[in-house]
């Protein structure tokens, strides 16, 4: 592996430290339906609620705006996406009364590709030093991730020394050979560049980009579920992001470019009503499983246009008849992805559904039929001072991102000395300059 691959990530890590030093930053979820932002204050001296998990972070403000220019997990209109980000940041700044400079972003989609790679280095009976870990990480071969990819995460899953596996931290252990298994997650380079460009055009510094799947997993899954193994499915408007957790680490991530926005457009087509009205019908009357009672529920269709006197109605079962096949299709696609990585061979088959579209009534029963028995709906863990309207499952990724910012996972590029070959002081000065300027 070469150093050039993670230079962008190194730069982001530098910004991350700056953000903590500055003490005020924002986490941003750029979705297809909404762009949401939490403003967080970081203070080393602050003693937050000891029971709350967010440590030295305090939520200062929240801002949400409807998204534009983003669909199906990619930014197709950068200027409109920037506008939305500016609107959200503007609102957040207005609430805080300070200028926000640093943002952490979570973004769903981007066609993520997961790969596991492993490498090893000789210890020769010596104690393991940090340099040995770096050597082992550097020895990992880069699997073929496809052309035009940008590494998003490269997290060491576990280390082994000779025949002892599952070591969390091998530092100081002795043995002959140190090995590491690493999970790589890459997304399409245009998507990465698009997000980076949008954030830069808003005069913000990007301090980290996290896959929505991982963020949702951190926000929704319990500690137990992450250890025993669970898949989180974050069904948003544009994409359904899947992340598989096992032994506290994300071991796989995937994304299905289908989401709640498709359901809405289906309704709009089916009943010949505007998109906004279709969204209203979906959120108000929608469901996944029809009952006989639903035939009797008449739903007025609000129509704009020239037929002013005309009033059309439909029944709830008809509406569900439009929604259910599409939701089933999304869940089938998710199941396909899970089958492809042999999720159903894992000891635990827990699936947690979250995201905005997971609020459709009856989705858990439908998912139980399609995905497996152990399905539950996930709501993000509580953050102190989080307003009521930001506690729904559509904020799972954002809440998870707060978690991720507070306790960032070890990444490959956090280990110093990956590119080090010589140990001279001049070399180190040059290295320092390169990483700090």
């Amino acid at each position: 592996m070469t150093a050039s691959m993670f230079q962008a990530q190194r730069a982001m890590r530098q910004k991350y430290r700056q953000a903590l030093k500055r003490g005020l930053f924002a986490v941003l979820d750029i979705g297809a339906w909404k762009t949401a932002c939490f403003v967080l204050r970081h203070d080393e001296d602050m003693r937050a609620d000891p029971l709350a998990w967010q440590g030295n972070l305090r939520l200062e403000a929240t801002a949400v705006s409807a998204s534009e220019g983003v669909s199906r997990g990619e930014i197709h209109d950068m200027r409109r996406a920037e506008k939305v980000i500016r609107t959200v940041i503007h609102r957040a700044q207005k609430e805080v009364g300070e200028c926000i400079d640093h943002v952490f972003v979570t973004f769903g989609g981007g066609n993520p590709v997961s790969a596991i790679t492993a490498g090893s280095t000789e210890l020769g009976g010596e104690r393991t030093r940090e340099a040995d870990i770096a050597d082992a990480l550097a020895a990992c071969p880069l699997p073929d991730l496809g052309p035009g990819r940008q590494l998003l995460h490269a997290q060491p899953l576990h280390f082994w020394i000779d025949n002892r596996t599952g070591l969390g931290d091998p530092l100081g252990q002795t043995g002959q050979e140190l090995g590491v298994e690493m999970h790589l997650l890459a997304i399409d380079l245009p998507v990465f560049d698009g997000v980076l460009g949008c954030v830069r055009n808003c005069d913000l510094d990007l301090c980290g980009l996290t896959a929505a799947g991982q963020a949702a997993g951190l926000g929704v899954l319990t500690e137990e579920e992450r250890r025993l193994g669970a898949a989180v499915v974050d069904i948003g408007a544009g994409t359904a992001d899947i992340a598989l957790f096992f032994r506290q680490h994300m071991i796989h991530a995937a994304s299905v470019p289908l989401g709640g926005a498709l359901v809405t457009s289906d309704i709009a087509y089916a009943f010949d009503i505007p998109f906004a009205e279709a969204e209203r019908l979906k959120t108000r009357f929608g469901g996944c499983i029809a009952t006989s009672r639903d035939d009797l529920d008449e739903i007025p269709l609000g129509v704009e246009g020239e037929w002013e006197g005309e009033r059309r109605t439909t029944t709830r079962s008809e509406l569900i008849g439009v929604i259910a096949p599409r939701m089933a299709e999304i869940l089938e696609a998710v199941r396909e992805r899970l089958e492809a990585i042999e999720f159903y061979a894992m000891p635990s088959q827990r699936i947690v559904l979250t995201g905005g579209a997971s609020q459709l009534p009856g989705l858990d029963r439908m998912a139980a039929r399609i995905l497996g028995d152990q399905v539950r709906l996930g709501v993000p863990i509580r953050i102190a001072r989080l307003p009521e309207n930001a506690r729904g499952p559509e904020f799972a990724a954002l809440v998870g991102l707060v978690h991720h910012v507070m306790r960032p996972s070890d990444e490959w590029w956090d280990f110093e000395g990956l590119e080090r070959r010589g140990k001279g002081p001049v070399r180190r000065i040059v290295q320092w300059l390169a990483s700090n300027w």
Partner: protein, 330 residues
């Protein structure tokens, strides 16, 4: 999931507005725009205007003119001064010491200071200055001279409390007032006045009261008899003397001194010229001048002219009784 409203507005997401707003949220920028910029602008404008020739002088002129205009308003003008309760001389003194030019403005006068200056005059017991309808009214309570105090360097008029009222050129000018002498006499004026009152029919015959050792009085009568009064209860002693005088006609005899300092034993000193008569064989000795303040030449101007050239005689010759407290008399 709640439907989100898409808000429209010309500034929504506008890049320029956004950048401007972010700039505004920076503290130094805000401080600069809110404080430094207005201050600098105000300074520059004021500076460029004031440094134009003639502007500053014009402003000064107008300022002074405005002050003048206010001060010379008829409401504040004082046209004259009226002094009440003072004699003509004192009025002149007050006018001189105040030195005001009329018309004056009420705003430029410090009434308190003027009042203090008037009250500082010896002849003024208290003064009150008020301005009423353009007239500065000075009501003065004048000190009334009650006694004349003879000192080495001249005569002073004192009021009943011993406060100085003024100087007196000659004794004859105020022959109606009793004469005091001796150090510290001014501090015991009420006592002296009491003695004179107590003297009764003797009062017209008193030439002077002499303070001895700043503690007791000697009374000098016109016929040269000196009455030494005790420090304590001098009025009782005086009353006793009056009784003696009525019974024995004491003061009409040829004596030079009556010593009443010891109440149990009044002593009378026989006049020197009467000595041979009283004590045959004793020759008169020359009198020695006492170390008392020399009597002023003004004594000559006493109406009856009797005191001319007369010093206060104290005989030092052997007296009928031993002098009991010679240390009191210096």
């Amino acid at each position: 999931m709640r439907p989100l409203k898409r808000r429209r507005g010309w500034a929504r997401g506008n890049r320029f507005v956004y950048a401007l707003e972010r700039l505004w949220l920076r503290r130094p920028v805000r401080l600069f725009v809110r404080v430094a910029l207005p201050a600098a602008t105000a300074f520059l404008v004021a500076h460029s205007w004031l440094t134009r020739p003639g502007v500053l002088e014009g402003l000064q002129e107008r300022y002074l003119a405005a002050i003048d205009w206010v001060e010379n308003r008829p409401e504040f003008r004082i046209r004259q001064m009226r002094i009440t309760g003072a004699s003509a001389e004192l009025q002149d003194d007050i006018r001189e010491i105040l030195g005001l030019d009329f018309p004056a403005s009420m705003l430029t006068l410090d009434l308190d200071a003027l009042e203090a200056r008037v009250a500082a005059l010896d002849a003024v017991a208290s003064a009150r200055l008020t301005v009423r309808e353009g007239v500065l009214e000075i009501s003065v309570l004048e000190r009334v001279p009650a006694v004349i105090w003879q000192r080495r360097d001249g005569l002073e008029l004192l009021d009943a409390e011993g406060h100085r009222v003024g100087l007196l050129a000659r004794r004859a000018l105020r022959a109606d007032l009793p004469l005091l002498a001796g150090e510290g006499a001014d501090r015991a004026v009420p006592e002296a006045l009491g003695l004179i009152e107590a003297a009764g029919r003797l009062a017209p015959r008193i030439r002077a009261l002499i303070r001895i050792g700043e503690r007791r009085w000697d009374m000098l009568l016109e016929n040269g008899v000196r009455i030494s009064l005790p420090e304590k209860a001098p009025r009782a002693a005086l009353a006793r003397l009056l009784v003696l005088d009525r019974i024995h006609d004491l003061l009409a005899r040829r004596i030079s001194r009556v010593d009443l300092r010891v109440a149990e034993r009044p002593v009378v000193r026989v006049a020197p010229e009467a000595l041979p008569e009283v004590f045959p064989g004793m020759a008169p000795k020359p009198a020695v001048m006492a170390q008392l303040p020399s009597p002023a030449a003004d004594m000559a101007a006493l109406p009856k002219g009797r005191a001319a050239g007369v010093s206060l005689p104290v005989a030092t010759g052997t007296s009928a009784s031993a002098s009991t407290d010679s240390k009191g008399e210096r």
